[in-house]
Structures are given as C-alpha cells and as structure tokens.
Symmetry: D2
Subunit: 345 residues, 4 copies
C-alpha cells in the first residue's frame, strides 16, 4: 500500500482527492491536514465520506508527511513551494495540484502569481504532469506540477494539430467555459447560487493565470511562440469544463483527415476519448470521471477547425489527473482508482 | 460471474443499472433490450458509458433472457407481469424495478395502476425487496418487487417508530420531495428545464401511486391500519429524495431515547446511516450512492417527531437497491458493486 | 411624489426594493445608504439597474432621512430599532423589512434574536404589516413591521381555516421550502452554487426565528394558543417559497366547502389568488410578482386538509409587501408599482 | 389603443409577447390563436398571467385577425408565410417572430429551412426588424422580419467594428451560448432538466440556421462578403444569450479608441448599453428586459478584439424586440411597455 498524505484538504480539489483515494485499491491515507479545521473528522465536513473515511483533519506535521510515500498539495498557490524541499529531500514524492511548479519561467510565474518564488531550482526539476505528453518523465519524477483545469482541456484539444504542424499558430482562440466549482469552496458573493446560477458571463479576459500555462505547453509542442486568445467563462453548473478551440488550417484539404489523425494520436490513451465525427461532447459525460472527450469539426467546408474538448475540472482537471500521475510514478495500472463511470443523469 | 439481462434499458433506472452493473465485479451483462432502440450501441445514447460497456440494445428475446441468471425489468408498469412467468418457470431470478409486484392486494393494485393484473399468483410469491425489512425472504426469493423511491425513503424513516409502537399511527404525514429524474426520461413539457428548474411545486396530492405501497409497508409493521397523508413535491434538481415525516409521540418522554433507538435499529445496516443528533441530511450526500441517511428531531420539546430521510431516487430508490437485492439473492457481499462514494460537490 | 429613503440597500431585499421603487410611478428615491459601499453607484453593484437609477450609496445621514416621507430599513436585525425613534419623532413613516418590530412579546423577541430591544415602546406602536389582516391599522400606522417571508406564506395559507374555527389548532404543521435568496447576499459557503444547487435539505428544525412570528399571528386569529411544528427547507432555486401546511378538520364534512370559503375570504384581495380546486401552485408563477397563490386539498376523503401557498420571498415575502404597505399608508392604489407579471419561463 | 392579434401563442415567444403586451399601455389584445389549445384560457396554461389576461386561445380566424392593427406570428417557421399576404392586403401590419422573412436570398432560405417559400415577393418587401440598424425602414414597414436571438446579439456586438472598417472580415468567430428556453416549449428529451441542467455542450457546428442570417447582416454592413464561424452552445439556465465574438484588428493602435467608438455608435439607443471598459456583462443583467449589454476587450495588447454581448433571448432576442418594432411602426415611444428592470437576483 502506498502511504499518502494530503496537505490542505478542505477545498474542492482536496475532497475530490479524498473521494478518489478512499476508494483506491493501493492507497492508505495517512494524514489530511488543515490548520483551520484541525481535529474535525473529515466526514463531518463532507458527509458523503461517512463510512468511507475515518480520519480527522490534522495540523501539517513534517514528521508525519515525511513518512509518506507521496504527498499531494491541494493548497492555495504559494504553499507547496514552501514545503516541497523538505519532502523532496526526504525522498517523498510530491504532487502539487496548485500552480507553484507549473511555469518554467520564474519571472513569468512571479508576474502572474504576484509573489517571489521560494525554490526556483525545484521548478526546474518539476515535471509538468500531463501524462498524454510527459508520461516517461512522470514515471521518473519526484515532483509533479499537476496541470490546471483549463490548460488540460485546451492542450489535449489543440496539441495534435500543433504537433503535426497543421494550423497557423499566431492566432489561436480558446473560448473556455467552467462550472462554478472551479472558483473553489471559499465564501464569496460572486459564486453564491443566487448570483451565479441562471446567469452566464466571461471573466479574466485581460489575462487569466492559465494563459501563460497554456501558452507554455503549446509553445513547446510548436517549437516556436504561439499567439493565443483565451477567454474563460462561468457556467451555471457545478462541474465541468468545455473548451471550444478555433484555429485556421494551413491547408483546408487536410480537414477530412483530422478525425483519423486524432484517433491515432490518442489511440493508446485510456483517458482521452476521441468521439465519432460530428459529435458534441457534453460535460456531463465526464462528470465525476477522469476522461477528456474530444470532437473535431471543420464547419462549412472552410479552413477554420473547431475542437470541442470536455473534462471534469475536479477530476481530469485536478484530483483525477493527480491520481493518474501517482499511478504512473508508482508503476500501478494507470487507471487504478479511476474506473468510475460518469454520473448521468 | 452472474449472467444478467436487463429489459428496457433506455430510461433513467435502466442506465443507472448499467452504470452500476458495468462496474460490478461479479456480473456479466448478457443483454439489454429496447424495442425502439434496437441495434443502437448503448454508449451512443449514453456517452458516459463509452469505454465501459460494449453492447447494443436488442429486441427482447426469451431465448437469451432465459439463459440469464437474473433479469432486471426497468420497464414501464405493466410489462414485467407479462414476461415474468416464463422467466420464473425457467428458473431465472427476476427483479422488477417497476410496480407490477409491489402491492399484495390485487384490487388495490388495479385501482391505482388502471389495468388488470396478468399474474396475481406471482404477486403472492413476490418478495418486497426492502432488504432492511425482508432480507431473509429476499435471500430465498425468485421474484423481487423492488420498492418505489418515495416508499424506500419514507419506510426507512418511519419503521423504527412504528415497529416500537412509539407513535400515533392514525395521522402520519410524509411530506416528500423528489428531483426531476423521478419523472423519467420521456419527452414531456412539465420537466423541461425551462419549466421545472427555478420552481417548486407539489403534485399528486389527491393520490399518488406510492401511497398504497407506503401504507402497505407501514401497516405490516404496525399490525394495524395506518392513516397517512403523503404529499410529493418536485424539486429543481436532478437526483435525490428528501422525506420529511411527522408523527405524534404517544409519550413525549421517549424523545430523548429516539436517537439511540434508531442507531441500534440500523446498527447492522451498511446502507442506512443514522446521522448524529441535530443533523440535517442533504440529498447530495447520497448522490450516486446507495445510502439512506436519516436524522431524528423532536423540536421545541413537543410531542411531534420529525424524521428526515434522504436517498438518491435512482440508486437506493431504484437501481442500487435492485443490485443490493441481487447481491443478497446470490449470496454476494451485500455492497458488491455499490461502494461508490456520493459525488460532492 | 413620495420621498423615499432606503437604509441598507446592498442585500437582496434592498435591491428588490430598488427594482420596485425605481419603477414606481409615485416615488422619488432620495437616498440609499450603505456604510461599506459609500460612494459606489448602485448600478455598478447591480447592472440590471443601469439606466433606471442614477444614485450612489451614501452613508446614513439623519438630516437626509428625516426629510423623507418614508424610510425603508433593509438592514440586518437590530439596526432599525436604533434609528426608528428619531425618524418617527420627525414624522417620517418607517417600514422595517427586518424583524425588529415583529414580535410583540419583548422577552420572546430577545430570546430568539439574542439581543436587548432598544425601544420596546415602539414595538407596541408598530403595526404588523400583513395587509390582508391589518389593512385598517396599516393605513393609520407610522411604523410598520414588515412580515417575514415564511410567516407571510404560512399565515395567508392557514388564517381562513383558523378564523373560521374549522381545524384542530394544537398540532399544525408547516413544511416550508425556500429558494436560496432567502439566505441573503452575504458571502457564505453553505449557499455557494457548488454547495446548495443540486441538493435539498431541511434546516432550523429545532427552532427558526420565524416560528414565534407565525405562532403570534395564528394565535391572534385563534384567540388561543396554537401548537405548530415549522420545518424550513432550502430549495436549489433562487426565488420562491412554497409552504405545505397540514391541519386536521374538526368536521370532515366541511371539506367540500373549503374552496368557496377561501375564495370568499380573499375575494377582495388583489394579491391573494385562490387557485381552482385541484391546483398545484408553482413558485415560478409568482417569480418577481407580489402575489400569494393558494390551493386547498383534502386528500383521500380524509380529515387532513393540505394548504399549498406560494410567494416570491423577495416580493410578497419582503420588498413587494413593503411597497404594498407604503401604498396603503399613503392612500395610493394598493398595486401602484406592483403590477408586474411573474417572469415565466 | 392598438388592436393586436397573436398567432401561435403557446410557445415561449408567445407567452413572452403576452407578458409584455398585457402590460403595454397602448395595446388591446384581440385574439391569441392556437389550434391545439382552442378554448383553453391562456391563464390556465400560464398561471403567471392569472389576473392580467382574461382571454382564451382561439382558432386562427382571418375575420378577427384582419380587424387587428397588427398581428404577431409566434409560430414555427413556415406558418407566417402562408397567412401574411391576406393580412398585408387587408392593411394589417405583420411582425413575424419566426424566420420566414429574414433571409432575402430565397434559395438560401429554402436550403436552410428545407421548404419552398410561399411568397418570395413579400420577402422582398419585408424589413429586417433590427431597430438599431433599420429604424427608418421599420417606421414605414408593413411587414417585419423580427431577427433571431443569436443574430441580434452577434450583430449588435460586431456591427460597429465592421461599419467602421476596423477588422479583418474573412475570419470572424462568434462563440455563442444560449439558455434552454431557446429550444422552445416542445416536449423533447434533450432539454429535460435531467438532461440539460448540470451540463454544457456545443451544437449545430456544421451549420445553424442563424448563420446565414448573421452573415447577411454583417455582409450588408461590410459591403462585401464576410467569413464567419458560428458555434452555438447550450447553457444550463432558462434565459439569456451570451455572444463572445472574436476579430482581428487591421491596426492594433485602434484598440484604445474602441470603447468611445462603441459609446458614440450606440449613444442614442435606449436598449443598447455599452458597459464601462473592463466590464463582463452577465446574462442575468438583462433577464426579462429588452437590453443588449456590450463590453469591448482587447486582451494582452494584441490585435484580437473580443466583444461580449448579452441579451435575453426571449426579450431583445424575440418578443421584446417585436414590441419595440411595433412601437416604432405605430409612432409610440420606443420603450412603451418595455420599461421593466431585469430581475436580479
């Protein structure tokens, strides 16, 4: 059994980790920390865990955490970077679900996250945990930067086009939509049900923190800079991300080959589902499950390709992908603990 | 492996059965029938099943069904009774998720369901599949009448009071609320999102078909007639039933003992969770899971006891309970295939 | 034009007052106060008011408020009682949408609201602003205690039965359900969309502050104490209250006369709609409108009468009723500014 | 008083017309037709109209309709074109809320709508009822083609850029999102609450009927063909459209002038609200109201302009705009009957 610690377990990515790990056949949860909720049984905060998890929140304790095989950080940005070194030095594997290790350019990171980085050298060592891109490196990694939710949906959608050099990359558009759980479990007026339900809006158009992360991933694949306009929107539902990505084909004759190109690209990926031509993936088809479902459209025989990509922001966009990374790091079946079928209806 | 057939798999109880059975460790689904969708891969209708179930809807075929170990009916009322005898005669176990075998009084059944019964003798043999009441009989049964959703929530809530003779039984009140999936997957104006979301209403006050079913169960426990007012309501959410039950205590001094009485009553039941005193069970705490969570209140030091009881109408209120019954009938662990944790948030 | 001041306009009852008063033909809004948002144009917080209201939040200023004809308090409990005397002494009419003046028994009030009352003598003078009960007194009043949302729905539903002495009053049950706007616009985890949508739960069973208010109203009508069990629930929708009230008829033969009794009782009330026999009022049928719609049922030819009563908690349950009270106090048409049709779908 | 007839009043655009016209100070509704619901009081189908409209559905009767001053068609596509000539010949003004007269190119219309056109000559005479573009023609018109919902939001968003020649027009993108009321009130599985709520998806990517309508409007403004990719999505809410439009600026230095350009462009339009720079219009800010609210963004100092445009699909996107057109045609105040403030929360 793999001994697991979770730092910061009261938010939505934390409880989702608990839901997945409590049912994981190879895992033993050793500790789940929360300064503010110290002593509170986890199942008192999350009654869905009653009968499944007999553990209370505890204060972060390095002597406990360093005895784990792996520690997940489900903390706000800026926490993992202050604790990671001690864990790494103790030989513990670390998976950060926040953004501390996602951006390789430290100055860029500081600009977007508004703080100094505590350990730039660890950023260098960290592996960006998108298994469909970096599986080999993940297998060897000791420190994983688990991707953001929007970046997962957008990159999985666009990478086959970019890697194959099929599109103009100076003017990509990612029009992305997220359910409200993406805003987290903090008390806030904007995501009160009376505010956010029965409405739809864009936000962060001037610059969302996931923009540099997406550009970094696309640039690596493109081996050159990319131009990207990224507009996130808030959808009145709890879970799910839908990315609608637009790009211009260099050669519109390639349109008829895209379906098979995507199918081949992801043929060996258990968690990426290229849907039949003409499909419209619904976010509910991945609700609670670790899939990314993708459909490819080239409307009106034109040269604009439209990629539709859906994930559950809390699963493939956060906790599920983190567990997938853990499975890879420990040589388990990649879908261990991740076999749940999406909850429909 | 248990060979399973499902008759009528296109509705919500059908797809929920598929979700549970596709992941059940001891089950092999042999056939899923639908006349109207014959030939359609199940995963084309329910993309959440893509990669989990490689089966198409087929026409009901007795030669296939009689080769199963157990056949589930997820059909409208009145279908199972026309097919059950042949299956029963062939030694196949039958679990009907509709109402054909729930009411022992055939005249009463005919009055509420508006048709002649095709096989009154099988009604007599059928066991009402509420494991917390009839586990021993279920173990021996060949034909199970799987309880309705409201009846499950209300009976599990009220039975401990009635069996212990603690309440006046001439004037029970069950104010019950259900999510819209309870109305089924048929095209209908009343449950269009633009109609039923952002609104709340009662319905069926004059007489809902679950009324005689609940009264039958309570009467057996009471060993005498009970008076019951049952008012169902439609809640603008997909899944979940919340029953708020009101009864008068014969002796208000018993109030302080009710919590421990319920805890003892359900101590050995893995799927009934008596919550701590003062709790308010939320329907989401059982979303997608086979639990019934119950809380007991006696407000204002009065003599009115208020029982709060929640289930997922599609799981403990339908498909999950059906699988639980199957597990009992075949001597499996009662929670085989039913270990999923409710999806929160 | 009536000069109006609003104290505390940033919450939901405040903005609802603004929506109604900005369109009221006889009103001029002089000031809307908020310490925390001083200087902020109201339409910046509530863009729906852009083009309709050119006013900024200001600090409460008695010199401005005492120049108003009427001042509404849309403040938390405990504020109006500290400011009312100065206004009343200055001859300004006061309508308090909070609970400061609702409960005549000062000790009872203090018990439920957890504070000393600042002006018990004003409580005595205050008129409980339920126009269907106290219209004549409201006309003469200088200080109105605007009823709570649940109390409005429950009292309008039960009063005709009680005033006519038709029911046992020792064991009334009000099972009430409210949309999430009833919880207010304060940042809170429990009413985040990711928490409260797609779920249903009871709360406050041990004792909700609206319980003594409802009991007070019913007791006056009954000319004797009443026994009441009141269970509020949270519905995953924004607006609306549905009260399902249960009572036992003294004589079940009266059942057939109840429909016409209610119709006569409310024949002259423009804002109470007794629906046809057999109806199920939906909360959306009053969304944004000042109506209470009521239906009467006596199921299964028994002796339990079931009253269904719906209002919009922010309109007839708060701001709309406050405007109705203002209209009565100033001799305007009772529906001035209140003619909007509910928004369906 | 203007005598109004409505043909086909049972759908959402029909009931929205009724809501607006029943409260319109200059209108008298003469008839509302529905073959299927003949004889049913309108308020029985839509209880929100109880007390506001004392009229029953009637069979379409030309003798009644030709006595109206104006007839609205809230019918499925293909009906208005079979009845319009007789009305027009009788001197009755006609406003079609369906698509029969929107597309000037008859062959194009037939291709998208799959039927022969019954009166191509009337298409020629019809005026496209977007007041912000065609006010003068609307004033003189006898036959109005009321714009589609998506086309209203997208055109109002993009026209200032196109008319001023500021953007490349070969590759426009309109990523549009609509609430479920846009799918109409017909019984359908896809928009059952249990299907469409808590999910998000694109649809009609290959070609939606609003595509040629939008292209026609943009082409006229552009005085040359435009390239447009239009992707509609279904949002889990009842009302509202949010269009996110992307275009490349010919000269990125123009970016800083766009805000004032839009403000001037719409300075005299009461129903178009150009929001302050940096705003994110929410669909709820126009819920139930006839506004289009627009915000202009040029993110990351690039050359891609992002226009956010929101309307209520049933008001400015259908019935409200139809009433606005009527007001213009009859020389009334353009906002007569359209002064309602959006319902928030």
């Amino acid at each position: 059994m793999i001994k697991v610690g979770i730092v910061g377990g009261t938010g939505y990515t934390g409880v989702e980790l608990l839901r997945l790990l409590a049912a994981h056949p190879e895992v033993e949860i050793q500790a789940i920390t929360s300064r503010s909720e110290k002593g509170l049984p986890v199942a008192d905060m999350y009654p869905n865990l009653r009968g499944h998890l007999d553990l209370a929140f505890s204060e972060p304790d390095m002597s406990v955490l360093t005895n784990c095989d792996v520690v997940f950080f489900a903390t706000p940005n800026g926490i993992a970077m202050t604790m990671a070194r001690e864990l790494v030095d103790a030989g513990v594997k670390v998976i950060d679900l926040a953004a501390d290790f996602r951006i390789k350019d430290i100055n860029e990171w500081s600009k977007w996250y508004g703080m100094e980085h505590a350990c730039p050298d660890l950023v260098e060592k960290a592996v960006y945990g998108l298994p469909e891109v970096n599986r080999a490196e993940i297998k060897q990694a000791q420190l994983i930067a688990n991707p953001g939710c929007y970046p997962t949906a957008v990159q999985l959608g666009l990478l086959p086009l970019i890697e194959n050099g099929l599109i103009e990359t100076d003017n990509l558009i990612a029009d992305a939509k997220s359910g409200v759980s993406g805003a987290g479990r903090g008390a806030a007026v904007a995501t009160l049900q009376a505010e956010s339900s029965e409405s739809f809006k864009a936000y962060g158009v001037a610059g969302h923190r996931h923009l540099p992360e997406i550009k970094q991933g696309l640039t690596i694949a493109n081996k050159a800079d990319v131009g990207l306009t990224f507009v996130p929107h808030l959808v009145p539902m709890i879970r799910g991300i839908h990315a609608t990505c637009y790009a211009r084909l260099k050669d519109k004759n390639v349109a008829t080959r895209l379906q098979s190109l995507y199918e081949k690209h992801y043929a060996n990926e258990i968690f990426v589902d290229v849907m039949p031509a003409g499909s419209f993936p619904e976010t509910r088809s991945v609700k609670g499950a670790n899939y990314c479902r993708i459909a490819i459209h080239v409307p009106q025989e034109g040269d604009t390709v439209v990629i539709l990509s859906v994930i559950d922001n809390l699963v493939k966009g956060a906790a599920g992908q983190a567990v997938q990374n853990m499975n890879i790091m420990f040589g388990l079946n990649e879908n261990a603990g991740l076999t749940a079928i999406a909850l429909v209806p």
